[in-house]
Symmetry: C2
Subunit: 300 residues, 2 copies
């Protein structure tokens, strides 16, 4: 890809320096008041992850990347402060489940209130136009930083991450299609392996957040299927990135045309394909869920 210009690198680093200097004022965790940072972080994580049955120490440990002993001790002090309750996991009694007590919940709410008012204080020093521009620029920064942190990797069709993506994809379609979606329509693992095709998964911090499949359709022609992005990772431009990856892979295989079909319900997808250079063509198959067919001629 094109090299990164030194000016952009300099801008990037200026931003980092500026932010790490101000991070004290920005970081929610510094609002942990008299509580040590580690505990404050843990408390927030519990509040965030806690389901109806609380959250297991194991999950917290992997989320926060903490040492088991360290975590055990910290939860002990939180318990001593009356902020959390510990109990044995209902399914697996090796695990402990943590949940917030009423006092713990109140504490978290209070911290959030404080962080909100701090943020409002900063924004309040700008005029309304400035506020709008700042929040807009922050949102753009966040979106693009997230996108830059996501990697798209080729995985085997049998890989659990591939199957997990396809499952989630099927669930999404089942909701969106008025007629529902039948999972037997999904590609088989062999169809996207070896010379037949390829499967790609997008990872954000190790978590699969998107996918896409490429299959051989005819000599020199590939078919793109199952381009999907997790709800949490939408509006980042990730689908476009997956598409780029699939096209690059097609070219690598010497396929100069790619096609795809899509359902009438997926209007944003159609817009995306058009803006990515795809043109609508007549039906090339009689696929149940297909209402629109697209094609793109690849070059270079």
């Amino acid at each position: 890809m094109e090299p990164v210009s030194p000016e952009q690198v300099a801008d990037f680093r200026r931003f980092n320096r500026c932010l790490t200097r101000r991070i004290g004022a920005l970081d929610d965790h510094y609002l942990g008041q008299d509580r040590p940072l580690g505990e404050a972080r843990l408390l927030f994580e519990i509040a965030e992850r806690e389901g109806p049955d609380g959250v297991s120490l194991r999950e917290l440990r992997s989320r926060l990347g903490l040492d088991a002993g360290y975590l055990s001790r910290m939860t002990k002090t939180l318990r001593a402060q009356g902020l959390v309750r510990l109990s044995v996991h209902t399914q697996d009694s090796r695990l402990r489940t943590v949940r917030l007590t009423r006092a713990g919940r109140a504490e978290v709410t209070e911290q959030n209130r404080r962080a909100d008012s701090l943020a409002a204080g900063v924004l309040g020093r700008l005029d309304p136009g400035g506020r709008a521009r700042l929040t807009e620029a922050m949102a753009t920064t966040r979106r693009l930083l997230r996108l830059a942190a996501i990697t798209v990797e080729r995985v085997d069709g049998h890989h659990p991450d591939a199957r997990a993506c396809l499952d989630a994809y099927a669930d999404d379609l089942d909701v969106r299609f008025p007629e529902g979606f039948d999972r037997t329509d999904l590609v088989g693992a062999e169809e996207v392996s070896g010379a037949a095709g390829a499967f790609f998964v997008a990872y954000e911090e190790g978590r699969p957040v998107g996918c896409g499949a490429l299959l051989r359709q005819a000599a020199g022609t590939g078919e793109i299927r199952h381009v999907w992005v997790h709800a949490d990772a939408r509006r980042l431009g990730l689908a476009r990135r997956v598409l780029d990856t699939l096209e690059t892979e097609a070219l690598r295989r010497g396929w100069t045309v790619v096609r795809l079909d899509t359902h009438a319900a997926l209007t944003e997808a159609r817009a995306m394909y058009r803006s990515a250079g795809y043109t609508e063509i007549p039906a090339y198959d009689d696929h149940v869920y297909a209402d629109h067919w697209f094609e793109k001629r690849l070059s270079r």
Copy 2:
């Protein structure tokens, strides 16, 4: 001022959370490799502040806000690693001067190279359009966060910060005006005190970075003078903010018209006044440095 909308607060906090999570990858200091964070920070600060005669421990201490003992010990370990040299200050032998050795300089350069390549790595995962949008959004975020962190405060005309600003202002004008600038033209401390007028200084992290004066000109009319912004704080919209503050102060005093004059050399200033709602009027004085005269009718 208008209240801050909850959506904007939420956006702001999402940004903070996202950034503190990624800060490990962004923060230059985390590149200090095997060196403790404190030492790495110190090393960078020395590199940044070091003049031809090095930099005094005293200055480092106040810049970084460190305990004297802590600083002393850290410089000792840096010295033991051969990265800095310590010597007695030439003017005041109570002070110690630190300067980087060749090895220290090499270390800093290497860290910078590493930080650059890390930044380039992140940017490189975006397409050129995304890179441009990201660096642009980062720059906007930085500018507006800086602006929001600046406070504009009324100070007495005799206050050292007021005099320092006027000195810097005079130096700037002396360079920009073809005919030079005579400091006796500056307002006296009494002209901006009490009922006669007011003087405002803009502070960024305790450092004066801008100023503006308001003087009574005639009944119900104020004159704005000496609106100045430090070179480091330009292009943030600070002049506009100072101007707003002066107008608010004028209104508070019941003055419904403010006027100002400006020199032909200051083209950006003229544009700024126009966009702030000032209209050009005929000369209202025969001030030496005045070529253009502006007026604004204040309301509410």
